[in-house]
């Protein structure tokens, strides 16, 4: 019954989306404007129904209802409850249901909470959101029904990819999806504004919080995903330029650019066409990413569902929505007046530079990701690996960091180069000092990119605090703090990346129990290997005593074997200290009772994710600050009346 109710809720939600689209269309174009009154309730009901459908699928997974095909193929009754729960979205159909749920709930939120937008643009936006949702409902219902039954029901399920049996999975994909799909709101806003020809500052002010919210979640999702890959895959790396990672990075790059250009539009009424274009591109990148991942045309460690029918379906949706939006853009944007002009030396120019650099990185990542596909079309097989991305995106990202540090120190509209130079003096002085210090210490021992990374991270960290210089800290608006923290977070993260690639010490040994291993100031005593049993796995666990001029700690790297499906994974042992992480992986047994051990000491690697969290926190503070200012103004207006 639960599965059937879920399916019914989904069909009902789809019909409501259709209704919402038709009502908005007739209301705006036709002779019956009072129909528009029903658009918002339809959006809210649609959001509620998708949430119900998703909750019901979770229930089926929690109950291990093996008569449902999706549960039987992806779950197992012996699995711990958290992974049954997370298993709901650890598969193709479930994650697509999560996708439409996020889309439906985001649409409902726009219907309920958006007050600043002009009414006709608001309605057109909701119509746009319904139109996108419809395609994904169709995809779900016609080619990926999560509620399909299986008869006869199997005695038990086929488990879940053991790599995904990790607490990280419970939080990382939903956060990422909230951000990913949350960008659909920006897309719909752009469609709405193009339809009603309202591309102006007030439109940008209305769109900004939605972009910020989605961007914060996307940032958190990517940070969590990177940490998950770092400790679960056991390779010691934190970013692999895998197509799926790129699929989440590309919308993030576009959204970051959008976030800054929407501020220019909101504050100065400039960059109109560009902002609309970015809003379209950001969610388009989410959809392209989904297509790349789900269609199986690119090989990836994440490869989810290799199914050409589904691939063609999503390709059709892509062509329809992105093609439609770009055509609408081409058709309507000519009618949008050029925005306000600005001087060469101004905050606007800095933000344009930021946008251009972000867009170039986005383009390079997109080309790198698609390059294998392009050459294959001409009969050559190549793969594009991390060296390409590191070498190509690295220097531009460093340039971007410098622009980011300088941008907030330049005034809106017009500034004097001489004054700006003065303001930049302190950060650049520090950069000079730092680089001479760093070069004295490590010159010749580390690569040029990590070296520049360290220097730039240090100076950008100082420069990002500069906007608070000589300001009354108690009267500084919250969103300024948000910006400062987010920019500081970028510097912190960059520092972690540079330190990791410059100073990581790796050691690969074959050791017997009883052996003592020394590396990077650490002493590891390999005590013993012992078997261990978990909920649905068995493991070989190494017990090791670790010390670094102080107290001894025990760590336990494991090699785990899962019964269903039969797979083994390595559980790295991580020991976090203020100045870095010790990362130990237990490998296979080699001859003579020796075991392969891979040991890394990664100085300040944790800064990478700390920085990510700071970036997201900064975004959240900026969002809160803007909203609070809105509330305060409303409250004052009411008090005055």
């Amino acid at each position: 019954m639960i599965a059937e109710t879920g399916l019914a809720a989904l069909w009902l939600a789809a019909s409501l989306a259709l209704l919402q689209l038709v009502l908005a269309f007739i209301g705006l174009k036709g002779s019956k404007p009072d129909l528009l009154a029903a658009v918002r309730p339809a959006a809210v009901a649609q959001g509620v129904l998708t949430a119900i459908a998703f909750a019901l699928l979770i229930t089926l997974f929690m109950r291990s209802d093996m008569s449902v095909l999706l549960v039987a193929t992806n779950s197992h009754s012996a699995k711990p409850w958290l992974y049954k729960f997370a298993g709901t979205w650890g598969n193709h159909e479930g994650s697509m249901l999560l996708w439409v749920t996020v889309m439906g709930v985001a649409g409902a939120a726009v219907a309920l909470f958006e007050r600043a937008l002009r009414r006709d643009t608001h309605m057109a936006t909701l119509g746009g959101q319904a139109a996108i949702s419809l395609g994904f409902y169709a995809f779900l219902l016609f080619s990926s029904n999560p509620f399909a039954r299986i008869d006869p029901a199997p005695a038990d399920g086929q488990g879940l990819n053991p790599l995904l049996q990790d607490p990280g999975l419970a939080f990382h994909p939903p956060t990422l999806y909230l951000g990913y799909v949350g960008l659909s709101v920006a897309f719909s806003f752009a469609i709405g504004a193009l339809l009603t020809r309202q591309v102006d500052a007030s439109f940008a002010r209305a769109m900004r919080p939605w972009v910020l919210g989605a961007w914060v979640l996307l940032t958190l999702g990517i940070t969590a995903g990177s940490y998950w890959a770092y400790y679960e895959l056991g390779w010691g790396g934190w970013w692999f330029w895998d197509p799926v990672e790129n699929a989440s990075l590309m919308p993030w790059l576009a959204a970051t650019a959008l976030l800054h250009s929407v501020t220019v539009l909101a504050t100065r009424d400039a960059l109109r066409a560009w902002t609309v274009m970015l809003a379209v591109v950001a969610f388009s990148m989410s959809m392209v990413g989904t297509f790349l991942v789900r269609s199986g045309i690119l090989t990836s460690v994440h490869a989810f569902a290799v199914d050409p029918t589904r691939g063609s379906f999503i390709l059709g949706l892509l062509a329809l929505y992105i093609g439609g939006a770009l055509a609408l853009f081409g058709w309507r944007i000519g009618a949008v007046r050029e925005g306000a002009p600005f001087e060469l030396v101004s905050r606007e120019t800095m933000l344009v530079i930021n946008n251009l650099l972000l867009t170039v990185i986005l383009g390079l990542v997109l080309i790198g990701t698609l390059y294998p596909l392009m050459t294959e079309a001409f009969g050559h097989k190549v793969s594009v690996g991390a060296p390409y991305f590191d070498r190509i995106a690295g220097p531009i990202a460093l340039a971007l960091m410098i622009a980011m540090a300088a941008g907030p120190l330049v005034r809106w509209r017009r500034d004097q180069a001489r004054v700006v130079g003065k303001r930049l003096l302190i950060p650049f002085g520090i950069a000079l000092l730092l680089s001479s210090l760093v070069s004295a210490l490590v010159w010749g021992r580390i690569g040029i990119l990590p070296f520049l990374g360290l220097v730039i991270a240090g100076s950008v960290a100082v420069a990002s605090l500069a906007p608070l210089w000589k300001r009354n800290l108690r009267r500084t608006p919250l969103f300024t703090y948000g910006m400062v923290i987010a920019h500081l977070g970028c510097a912190v993260s960059l520092g972690g990346m540079a330190s990791d690639s410059a100073f990581t010490v790796e050691k690969l040994v074959a050791a017997r129990p009883g052996d003592m291993i020394e590396t990077a100031g650490w002493q590891l005593r390999f005590l013993q290997i012992q078997p261990l049993a978990g909920d649905n796995w068995t493991a070989l666990q190494a017990d090791m005593e670790v010390r670094r001029n102080g107290a001894t700690v025990t760590i336990h790297p494991q090699s785990r074997f899962f019964a269903s499906p039969p797979t083994s994974t390595s559980e790295a042992a991580l020991l976090t200290r203020w100045d870095g992480q010790l990362y130990v992986v237990l490998g296979e047994e080699v001859e003579g009772g020796r075991w392969q051990l891979r040991i890394w000491w990664k100085p300040f690697v944790t800064l990478i994710w700390l920085g990510g969290i700071m970036i997201a926190l900064g975004g959240a503070l900026a969002l809160l600050g803007r909203e609070r200012r809105g509330w305060l103004m409303k409250w004052r207006a009411r008090a005055a009346a």
Partner: protein
């Protein structure tokens, strides 16, 4: 100019769609084709990896007769599983040379003692340099080398019992 710029994104996107659809409807090809097939072997000279076998240089592989070049390592489990097939190939009169990857002489000796020694010459590639030059990404791998020292075929992974006739065919074709 502005007009052109406005429609540029759509044009680019249509290009992507064309690319995607061509990729989507191309049949999956999961066999690895080496780009080195038909190319002469990269030049190398390696020290001996085993106590009772001579070292190996690339020039020795251009012997006029097709032969096999096996990439293995004493620490590699599938390499031990492959040993009976290599013995069978040797019994069929095939000349087999080998390169031991990231290995040490005592370990190679012990491995050959345990699993048999079908090799004429064994070179030691302690830092995988020749392996990389050969475009080999793991162990075991086996190359069919024609009489002129050119790579005729690359077999990725261990040679299974049912691969043996195919390898013999490849050797005959490389004649």
């Amino acid at each position: 100019m502005r007009k052109l710029l406005i429609w540029l994104p759509l044009a680019l996107f249509l290009g992507f769609i064309a690319l995607f659809s061509s990729g989507l409807f191309q049949p999956d090809d999961r066999i690895i084709h080496s780009r080195l097939v038909g190319q002469p072997l990269p030049a190398f000279t390696l020290p001996a990896a085993a106590s009772d076998r001579p070292p190996l240089a690339s020039s020795q592989l251009a012997s006029g007769q097709p032969r096999l070049l096996n990439i293995f390592a004493s620490w590699c489990v599938p390499c031990a599983a492959e040993a009976p097939q290599l013995d069978a190939l040797k019994a069929a009169g095939v000349q087999i040379d080998a390169i031991a990857i990231r290995d040490a002489r005592p370990d190679v000796d012990a491995f050959l003692k345990r699993n048999g020694n079908p090799y004429a010459r064994i070179g030691l590639d302690a830092r995988s340099e020749v392996q990389i030059a050969l475009g080999s990404s793991g162990v075991p791998e086996t190359f069919v080398i024609d009489g002129k020292g050119r790579i005729a075929y690359q077999h990725v992974g261990e040679i299974r019992a049912d691969d043996v006739p195919m390898i013999l065919d490849r050797l005959r074709a490389a004649q």
